[in-house]
């Protein structure tokens, strides 16, 4: 059976150039015939990457045809050119046949073709492949449970080490890397001030605008000041500031420590006799906890300013009246409770980010994975902590 000879016949008349101009791809020939105990395939022509799809179809068909046969002989005598991609498909055919207990061999071919066969392992004994079995649902759930358990152990390890280091620092404060505390305060605090101011101004503005639409109906415009003042100092100021710190500084901490871990800088630190906890983690935690309340005070202030802008321009409340109403609504505890929350939030952000950073492995991909994990974990923890604060303050009547 002779197939696909149309191009060969045409090329004998017109040559390659004509067939290329006509948009034809040079074709190869694949002639299969039965032999005593199997199938013989005579290949011919130019078998290049352009023919790979057609060759793959032939290979797939032959794999089915060869079932029950003893051997397949692939003869390359008629092959003018064969490239690596097509040779790889033929070697795949041979390996698949061998796996099905069908002997397969390449015969003939020019020296160049034989070199390609040799290079692609066409004469080597195929390796027995270990088939990786897909995990079933129970195994996947089990593996996920083990991973969660490992992660919990890793977090407990981290917290234990933190407590030991904190105790050691109380007795030997000089062991602390104080330089990085100031650096962290600058990076997490001073550098973040513009974005904290802008976002909280807009939050105050939006909250006042939305509430004004409702309160105006009852002639209770002035209570916009109460609503904005209490919300910004007690709830939204600390929370929004923490969210900004999470996205801006928490992610940076996780990525920075993760990169240090994968580039062996953390190991290098340890070989200099220095612990990662007092040198990398505690300065960041302390710096964040010191700077977060300051940012939160600013956040509350500009949030109230945002409310004042709406009150003055839309509701005709004078700045003085707005200010007096705010002072009457906002109690000192509202401000201090916001500051307290912000300290706890900042500690959580820094600790989770550092823990995730130091748990990084696996190069750049690992750094990305841990940074994402840090941000998600921090956001969840912030909301959880905020809920806990709300309930506790509520129960205590604060």
């Amino acid at each position: 059976m002779l197939e696909n000879t149309s191009w060969r016949a045409a090329s004998e008349v017109f040559g390659d150039r004509i067939s290329l101009v006509a948009g034809l791809v040079p074709e190869f020939s694949w002639r299969s015939s039965d032999i005593a105990d199997g199938v013989r395939v005579d290949l011919g022509g130019q078998i290049t990457i352009d023919q790979a799809p057609a060759l793959w179809k032939r290979v797939s068909v032959l794999l089915e045809q060869a079932a029950g046969k003893q051997r397949v002989q692939i003869d390359n005598d008629g092959v003018d050119v064969i490239d690596g991609a097509c040779m790889a498909l033929l070697v795949h055919l041979r390996n698949e046949l061998k796996a099905r207990k069908v002997h397969c061999e390449f015969t003939g071919g020019s020296p160049a073709v034989r070199r390609i066969v040799e290079l692609y392992g066409g004469r080597r004994r195929p390796r027995v492949r270990r088939v990786r079995r897909a995990k079933n649902a129970v195994e996947q759930v089990g593996q996920a449970t083990v991973n969660v358990f490992d992660e919990v152990v890793s977090i407990l390890d981290f917290l234990g080490e933190l407590v030991v280091s904190a105790w050691a620092l109380l007795t030997h404060p000089k062991r602390m890397n104080w330089r990085d505390v100031a650096l962290t305060m600058e990076r997490a605090g001073a550098d973040a001030t513009p974005i904290v101011l802008l976002i909280n101004l807009l939050i105050g503005f939006v909250m006042a605008y939305q509430s004004a639409l409702q309160l105006e109906q009852f002639g209770a415009n002035i209570y916009v000041a109460d609503l904005v003042g209490v919300s910004m100092t007690r709830e939204l100021g600390p929370l929004m500031t923490a969210i900004i710190l999470c996205g801006r500084t928490g992610a940076a901490f996780a990525a920075e420590l993760g990169t240090m871990k994968v580039s062996e800088e953390v190991d290098a630190l340890r070989t200099l006799g220095l612990l990662p906890m007092p040198h990398l983690v505690m300065p960041r935690v302390l710096g964040m906890m010191l700077v977060a309340p300051l940012l939160t005070f600013l956040a509350g202030g500009v949030g109230i300013l945002g409310g004042l802008l709406v009150g003055n321009t839309m509701l005709d409340i004078t700045p003085k009246a707005y200010w007096i109403e705010t002072l009457s609504a906002v109690k000192p505890w509202d401000i201090w409770s916001g500051a307290l929350k912000s300290v706890v939030f900042a500690g959580a952000i820094a600790l989770i980010a550092c823990q995730q950073g130091l748990a990084t492995s696996g190069g750049a991909e690992g750094v990305g994975r841990r940074t994402t994990s840090a941000v998600v974990s921090i956001l969840f923890t912030l909301i959880l902590l905020d809920a806990v604060f709300t309930v506790v303050f509520g129960v205590l009547g604060l």
Binding site: G121, R124, M260, S263, E264, E265, D267, A268, L269, R270, T271, L272, G273, L274, L275
Partner: protein, 246 residues
């Protein structure tokens, strides 16, 4: 014969159930340039990390004379380590990297630390680079700077992980010269992991060869002698750069 500087007995390394090296026993003599060699994935770097104290062994013991088991934290460094990538602290200048341990563990004034840093950088041929950031250095310079940092605390023992990996032949040869100079000039004991044949034959005084298949040490001794006389197939393949028969 004098007491070895490092005595390793029945050391097994790996992780979980995966054993890389099983019950390795060897000594490192003082003043040696001791080379750990073997094919990729045989556990050379993991063995080095165990010797340093970064990887707890699965079994066996490591005894460094005057130190005992390798320990890292809580005390001034008693040996120097150069990692494969250099692992310089990227947020610090080269000078700060070299002087870091001195500042942390001594009460030396800044000027004295600076003087020592300058001398250490000059020792490794990096004069005038103290104010540069690691990112501004070439691969070879980073490794030299890392050696300077490892030397900052005047150790008598230094561990080097693949010192000439990824370097051009000239930089690699210069690094070999530096290792020899430190070994001969200062009597420094060097334990290094490498599979660079030229380096091994040029600087190594003793070596052990690890084997991935048997998970053991398949040869030990003078690398030049091993190259010339070993009848072990894997050793001959390694030293003669012969491909595995597939």
């Amino acid at each position: 014969m004098s007491e070895p500087l490092i005595r390793v007995q029945g050391l097994s390394i790996g992780w979980d159930q995966h054993v890389l090296i099983n019950e390795a026993t060897f000594d490192v003599a003082r003043g040696d340039v001791f080379v750990i060699l073997g094919e990729s994935g045989c556990g050379k770097s993991t063995l080095l990390r165990s010797l340093i104290g970064l990887e707890p062994p699965l079994g066996g013991s490591i005894d460094i004379q005057g130190i005992g088991s390798p320990r890292l934290e809580g005390a001034a460094p008693e040996y120097g380590v150069m990692f494969q990538s250099g692992a310089l602290f990227s947020s610090m200048t080269v000078g700060e990297n070299v002087g870091f341990a001195l500042q942390e563990w001594t009460s030396l004034p800044t000027e004295a630390v600076s003087a020592i840093v300058k001398a250490k950088l000059a020792l490794v041929g990096l004069e005038g680079t103290g104010d540069k950031l690691p990112a501004e250095l070439s691969g070879g310079m980073k490794k030299r700077a890392a050696i300077a940092r490892a030397m900052a605390f005047e150790p008598s023992l230094i561990f080097l992980d693949e010192p000439s990996a990824g370097l051009d032949p000239v930089s690699a040869a210069e690094l070999d010269e530096l290792i020899l100079a430190l070994n001969r000039g200062l009597g420094l004991t060097v334990v290094m992991v490498t599979h660079e044949l030229e380096s091994i034959l040029k600087v190594g005084t003793t070596c052990i060869m690890l084997d991935k298949d048997s998970k053991t040490i398949v040869a030990s001794g003078d690398p030049r002698q091993l190259k010339a006389e070993s009848t072990n197939q894997k050793v001959r393949q390694f030293f003669n750069r012969e491909a595995r028969v597939r």
